[in-house]
Assembly symmetry: C2
Homo-oligomer: 336 residues x 2
């Protein structure tokens, strides 16, 4: 796949510190996929806490310094412990970028109006574009708030507003300088799959996975973690009996990939996967392809279940040198 | 005031149609200013309906085609009349930009942490920056939804995400091409006062009024309307006895301004105004100065009470040639 980013304007990417990790919060992991616009609160809270642990140096007092000072529906106590901030020498966190999928946000609106097919002149598509952006930015705000509550200096950044656009669904234009500046100022950009303008189709849907690949290509993180709702990539739909977790996949120069671990006889290289019917941006097959393209850049990719000890180990960078046998997940690596 | 925008990157502003109007939804008009993060629902609904009437050609069926298909707290009915869209030949609206203030959103967070003074290295300022952006984007989402519900193809665009930054509080960098592309695709950008990065101070607050002046300067709308919570500009705080509504203010080449109508003897040129103590971005005095700088560009500015027949007349463009005596509001014009 050629993302046609020859015209991409990335003139001013000057990061003072390299990005440590780009984390994808999969829609399936943080929302209840079959309930319209419903967040999986428990998972999101756990994921946020793990992200904090992975990226923030311990505060001197050990307290979490919440950065969401907004009212919450149903909450009466809106007092904040501003005094705590005086204890802190700094709130340094290592550079992370968070990208999230849509899950039960956005997909309904997008598929009802076929936004991904383009055609902004049609009233239904135009309305669907507006409705999709409302839904995904609603989710983005909730995720930014959940992270901020855990003391992560999160900043919502919509690809549409950041000037991302496509040409026949391939990324045509992005201005990564805004993302880079936010990172250099010590913030954690929180991006998301979005409805964007397409200079051939009029509009389309830009998936979180494609965003991650583009960010990885241009910002060169040390590693990338995909948080999902299953342990990793399996050789067939994970709920089927005898489904085998693929622990290590090697990607070759030509882009082809093969399973390195476990070494099973007769294992079908063509991994069967499950794709939910309402997932307009593709399922596990797309994820492996995107992950393989990132791995080809020499960046290790971990696909792992959100909110487990395995995801914490992947996000904290513990697996970079050595992957212990008791770690459950899929690592995708470039075979040099 | 020099906004120092010599370094502003506005290389690709190619609007296919000129902007008709930039509308400022004043924080005082659309929120309950003394209640933390509370929207004035009635006012916002009325303002949204008037905006629709001002910018959208009547739909063939006369029906409002809602573009907010998201769940609302407390609402059980989330059915949408998708069929209606088939009736429509087009949803053309004349080019408008909406900019809103913060009112009871953002000000609390910003003033508690002095974000406007900068100093991102201080944990409280950094946290306040995050908290302020959460609060103002929360309001932005609600306003985008209110407009979309009225059939306005509204798109939330945060200045921070769009790459707006300042240098010692003056606008240093903006990329208006994203705004222009959204307008050319038939959308109504909804921007807002925001916390932004400042290359001298670290960060600051960029007010909605400064955003409007910048947009007016570069996108040259036919006219600008400020919706507020009083009838217009008075010669003293509006609640004082004998306060006189200034119906017409003329701005001269040198930037000085004078009251043309009414012609009162002994009227103090120095208009007294009320500035709410928690309004970190200035009150009516700032508004007049900003409005005068817009008027100097040859663009008429109307300051008018939101949700009245007077605001509808101003937004619809009815007053451009002739202002009838029964119109209540303040027009600020360049005296050639």
């Amino acid at each position: 796949m050629d993302d046609g980013n020859k015209s991409t304007q990335n003139t001013s990417i000057n990061l003072s510190r390299p990005i440590r990790c780009i984390v994808k919060l999969g829609g399936a992991a943080i929302t209840c996929k079959n309930e319209l616009e419903t967040i999986n609160e428990g998972n999101l809270k756990e994921v946020s806490a793990q992200l904090r642990e992975s990226m923030i140096m311990e505060s001197s007092s050990g307290k979490v310094l919440g950065m969401d000072w907004s009212k919450r529906t149903g909450e009466t106590d809106n007092s904040f412990a501003f005094d705590c901030f005086d204890d802190q020498q700094s709130l340094d966190s290592s550079p992370f970028i968070v990208v999230h999928g849509a899950g039960s946000f956005g997909h309904f609106q997008a598929s009802k109006s076929s936004v991904h097919k383009g055609g902004l002149a049609q009233p239904l598509v135009k309305a669907g574009f507006v409705a999709t952006r409302i839904s995904v930015t609603k989710l983005n705000l909730e995720i930014v708030r959940a992270l901020a509550k855990e003391g992560i200096p999160s900043i919502g950044m919509s690809p549409f507003s950041c000037g991302w656009s496509t040409s026949n669904r391939n990324i045509a234009s992005t201005d990564l300088s805004v993302v880079a500046k936010a990172i250099d100022s010590g913030f954690v950009p929180v991006m998301h799959g979005d409805a964007v303008l397409d200079n051939i189709l009029g509009c389309t849907i830009l998936s979180g996975d494609v965003i991650i690949r583009h960010l990885a290509e241009h910002l060169k993180p040390e590693y990338v973690v995909f948080l999902t709702d299953v342990l990793g990539v399996y050789d067939r739909p994970p709920l089927e009996p005898n489904a085998v977790l693929l622990k290590e996949i090697a990607v070759r120069e030509d882009g082809n990939w093969s399973v390195v671990k476990p070494t099973l006889e007769n294992m079908n290289k063509q991994v069967e996967t499950s794709v939910a019917a309402h997932d307009t941006t593709g399922g596990m097959q797309t994820k492996i392809s995107e992950a393989a393209m990132i791995a080809k850049l020499g960046i290790d990719v971990y696909i792992v279940k959100a909110g487990t000890s395995h995801s914490l180990r992947a996000m904290s960078g513990e697996l970079r040198d050595y992957i212990p046998d008791d770690w459950l997940g899929t690592v995708i690596r470039f075979l040099r």
